[in-house]
């Protein structure tokens, strides 16, 4: 505490300059009836050294993913973030700045975010990107309300949007919270047994305000059908595609097959998982959505001398100007994490991104090859997949994952958490950080599970 307060010990002097005698004089306006009596019932202050020691002990008790093979993904992906990204993003000029309301002294962050907008725009194939929303789920939810604002008048299915039925429940829950205030009805897009969207359900969605699908989808499946969705739903229904940004090194940019808005968890580019936050939500769109979209956006301008300069623009959509008529309540966003994303993208370049996508896919392909040799395991969905796929195990997924855990492996994500009726499926994820020995260990232990621990008829 003492090393954080430069005026400790100078109180008397400062009070005297104001004609006051005690600190209490500063609080005469707080009625006694609402004053806290006595000291807060909290522990004594600690020094930096003591805090670090406690942090190391407590956080050290968490199992980190560098310490064992991990096949957990399902929306967040272990990745390698180049060292220079951390070095630069912790520069105090970036780290300790507020929102760039004074553009003359905020050009660094403003230009970085304008560059970020360009990188994202190019990545997803749409002309406009904002400078981040909180995460992939809120970006998807805001895209739905934006679709209703834009298409509400012409829609024959009033205030209705369609969302893939595979959307993870926690993401869907965010959508419900964001949509209920505007009375938006969320209907489900059906998927076939192959895990892909049934094209007939795009027909059903015609006349609604928007359709939300993911590519790759939550089962890791790359769905060709999505590339025909826009033709089916037509101009007056927004096609919203949720993406995993690294996949776009190999997979077609949604803008190229008619997406009107693209959203997603930016994390795999530039950010560690950090137990799910802070992340950054990608939000990109076509021109008709621009003036009704959520979030901040940077424009290039000039200063009074005619020099290139950047500033926040289209602010009249935002809460600090438009108040209750704003397009969103978002104020603080995830700028610094978006900056990490921009740095990572700048280091990768287009070929590097393709290579990164290939590393993810190759590891997944390799794992599929290994697992398909093990009798008793089943991969219910034929490819192509990006970096994760569904694995069916004998016995329950839960016991299998517990067994793998006991052998020092995070074996994947139990799909029962998304669908209580499914008890034998695991979502298995590989990333650029998956090694051949990780795959061999998982295969060996799954073989063990099938032979000795699994339920046999």
């Amino acid at each position: 505490m003492v090393d954080q307060l430069p005026n400790l010990g100078r109180e008397k002097e400062m009070l005297a300059a104001m004609g006051m005698e005690s600190m209490e004089d500063l609080f005469i306006d707080i009625p006694n009836s609402v004053r806290v009596q006595g000291q807060l019932p909290l522990p004594d202050p600690q020094t930096e050294e003591e805090i670090l020691a406690d942090a190391r002990r407590l956080l050290g008790a968490n199992t980190n993913h560098a310490s064992r093979p991990s096949f957990l993904g399902a929306g967040l992906y272990r990745n390698y973030v180049p060292a220079s990204v951390f070095q630069l993003v912790t520069r105090g000029e970036f780290l300790t700045a507020y929102t760039p309301y004074q553009p003359e002294v905020s050009q660094g962050m403003l230009q970085s975010m304008w560059e970020f907008q360009t990188l994202i725009s190019e990545l997803v194939g749409l002309p406009i990107a904002n400078l981040s929303l909180y995460d992939g789920s809120t970006a998807a939810a805001e895209a739905l309300t934006c679709a209703v604002r834009v298409h509400g008048r012409k829609a024959t299915q009033e205030n209705t949007v369609y969302v893939s039925e595979l959307t993870p429940p926690d993401r869907l829950s965010v959508m419900h919270n964001y949509c209920q205030g505007a009375d938006i009805q969320i209907k489900m897009l059906k998927h076939g047994p192959d895990g892909k969207v049934a094209l007939t359900s795009f027909e059903e969605a015609k006349g609604s305000c928007g359709v939300y699908v993911e590519q790759p989808n939550p089962y890791g499946i790359l769905d060709e059908g999505l590339t025909t969705a826009k033709e089916i739903i037509g101009e007056d229904t927004a096609l919203i595609v949720g993406i995993q940004p690294v996949s776009l090194g190999m997979v077609e940019a949604p803008g190229a097959y008619g997406a009107d808005m693209v959203v997603g968890e930016g994390q795999p580019l530039g950010s560690p998982m950090t137990c799910g936050g802070p992340l950054y939500g990608i939000f990109a769109c076509h021109k008709p959505y621009l003036r009704l979209m959520p979030g901040r956006i940077v424009g290039r301008s000039v200063d009074v001398d005619g020099n290139e300069a950047y500033c926040l623009t289209l602010s009249t959509r935002e809460q600090h100007i438009r108040r209750h008529r704003a397009t969103s309540n978002i104020c603080t966003n995830e700028t610094l994490i978006a900056l990490m994303g921009a740095m990572h993208m700048a280091l990768l370049g287009p070929e590097g991104l393709q290579e990164l996508a290939l590393r993810n896919m190759s590891a997944s392909q390799k794992l599929k090859e290994e697992l398909s040799n093990i009798a008793g395991l089943n991969l219910p969905h034929e490819g192509p997949h990006f970096n994760e796929f569904v694995l069916e195990v004998p016995g329950s997924a839960n016991s299998c994952l517990e067994y793998l855990d006991s052998q020092g492996i995070f074996g994947g994500f139990n799909l029962q958490e998304w669908n209580p009726n499914i008890t034998n499926q695991i979502l298995v994820t590989t990333t650029d950080q998956t090694s051949l020995s990780d795959i061999q260990m998982l295969s060996a232990q799954l073989r063990n599970w099938v032979n000795h621990k699994g339920v046999k008829a």
Binding site: L5, E104, L123, A256, S301, T313, R325, F410
Partner: protein
């Protein structure tokens, strides 16, 4: 100028990666799914990348650069140990779906933070799920909404906000589907109880207010306001943006509030990062607790088997309240921010009150110093207090209206003049109820010397000629930016076609 899209150093390859894993069948995609055109990204070698972003950072102003008296934003020093801790693999490299036994350390930190925030705010339950202040507002309003729906009080369709409220308050309530009723403040910026009485009725779901208010004044009638709203059957919502002023001195619970959000990035020093990330936990009284979103960390005694993974003999677990509104972010909130703020809180512990006392000391000292310097220089007629008061809390407002009337110097001119003297400008033109407003919040981490020097510079700016101030700033990386041009000639990404930048 350094332009990202002007770099092409590492042609063909950027950052060098290990080889993809060899597979029996080559990786392939159907042609409709293959990407046809690569993104027009630059390729930077590491030296180019480091220099580009270093150059950009030098064109940016943070608390580390200088005094940052941005009212309402609580720009205090961000202790560096927080950053060291946030990069430990036990927080950076963990996944929310890993089981509780693999997250005992983080769960215990969540539990400790929930307890601490409950103690500081006088609330019963806390969730760390919301990731920003505005999202905290939205979350709490949703809890209030479901609470009334469960009670069958669907006619409560309105949320009351004072006209001096932060813009996020009405925006968050409207997003939840509420009609906004705005009530005027009194001439001194404080709440008008008669105006409140006139609108509080059986259609009121909640009132949203911050205290100290956006003029930096303590709302002495707050208990009366709470009573009016409660008597009408509504809930009281506390906007925690100004919480830095009151820790250990008073609490929203004592003032009669039912729900609170905390801006961990203001009060508890999560760095603001040029616009985020933040963290916006909420605390509520018991009647609203069943509606909170998960995750909430619970605690019980560890079983013999669990002791192996326990950090302190207890077992921590995630719990979901019975009537939860569901999620507002997909994961466990901004865990990285929570851990940083835990480190910050540990530094103060039961001394948090001293932190708030010094925040208030510094604000009042600076206000006096500015008036004193202005008087000595004969420019005290150029501005007035935004509201008459004996003491302010953690921030105060000045109105530049007299200068504007007399010589045409606006609050914005003064702001730009301060930029030329190496300061971040205070918040300007907010709250809207003060004409030509400047809102100044020094925070507790500025020394007396910094405050004295700033007061001198502030007064020197007022002594500048209006012409020179209209020209300001002249020493910054760019001069006044044409925001109208930006809005009329929208250029929201690099126009590769014209290539005019390279």
């Amino acid at each position: 100028m350094s332009h990202l899209f002007g770099h092409n150093g590492a042609i063909g390859k950027g950052y060098a990666q290990p080889q993809p894993m060899a597979t029996i069948t080559p990786v392939s995609l159907p042609s409709t799914l293959m990407r046809k055109q690569a993104p027009k990204w630059p390729r930077l070698s590491e030296p180019e990348m480091v220099r580009h972003y270093t150059w950009l950072s030098k064109r940016n102003f943070g608390i580390d650069t200088g005094f940052y008296p941005l009212g309402s934003c609580t720009m205090k020093h961000n202790p560096r140990i927080n950053e060291v801790i946030a990069q430990l693999p036990g927080i950076a490299d963990i996944h929310p779906h890993q089981g509780e036994k693999h997250l005992q350390g983080l769960l215990s930190i969540y539990y400790e933070m929930q307890e601490m925030l409950a103690v500081c705010s006088g609330m019963d339950e806390v969730t760390l799920q919301p990731v920003a202040g505005a999202q905290g507002e939205f979350t709490a309003v949703r809890c209030i909404q479901e609470y009334f729906r469960q009670r069958g009080e669907d006619q409560r369709t309105k949320v009351i906000v004072p006209d001096s409220a932060h813009g996020t308050n009405p925006a968050s309530a409207a997003m939840a589907g509420y009609e906004i009723v705005e009530i005027p403040s009194r001439a001194d910026g404080r709440i008008d109880l008669d105006a409140l009485r006139a609108v509080a009725d059986e259609t009121t779901a909640a009132m949203m207010i911050t205290n100290p208010n956006t003029l930096g004044l303590f709302e002495q009638d707050i208990v009366e306001a709470s009573t009016i709203v409660h008597d009408a059957g509504g809930q009281m919502y506390y906007d925690g943006a100004n919480f830095n002023a009151i820790l250990g001195l008073t609490s929203p619970g004592l003032m009669g509030f039912d729900a609170v959000h905390f801006n961990l990035h203001k009060t508890y020093s999560q760095p603001h990062g040029g616009g985020g990330p933040g963290s916006g936990p909420i605390g509520v009284k018991s009647q609203l607790a069943p509606f909170l979103p998960s995750p909430i960390a619970g605690k019980r005694d560890a079983t013999a088997e669990e002791l192996l993974h326990s950090v302190d003999g207890s077992w921590y677990y995630w719990l979901t309240p019975e009537h939860t509104i569901g999620k507002v972010q997909q994961w466990h909130g901004n865990a990285g921010a929570v851990v940083r703020c835990w480190a910050y809180y540990r530094r103060y512990g039961n001394g948090l009150r001293t932190m708030s006392e010094h925040a208030v000391l510094n604000a009042n000292y600076l206000r006096h110093a500015i008036h004193r310097e202005a008087e000595a220089a004969g420019v005290s007629h150029m501005f007035r207090d935004g509201a008459e008061t004996i003491v302010a809390k953690h921030e105060f407002t000045l109105s530049m209206e007299p200068a504007k009337q007399a010589v045409g110097i606006s609050a914005m001119d003064v702001a730009k003049g301060l930029l030329d003297r190496g300061y971040m400008a205070p918040t300007v033109y907010f709250p809207l109820v003060v004409p030509e407003c400047m809102m100044i919040e020094p925070t507790e981490t500025e020394s007396k010397d910094t405050l004295d020097t700033f007061a001198k510079h502030f007064v020197e700016v007022l002594q500048q000629s209006p012409e020179s101030l209209h020209e300001a700033p002249t020493t910054t990386p760019v001069r006044r930016v044409d925001e109208v041009y930006a809005a009329r000639n929208l250029c929201l990404r690099h126009p590769f076609e014209t290539n005019e930048l390279n």
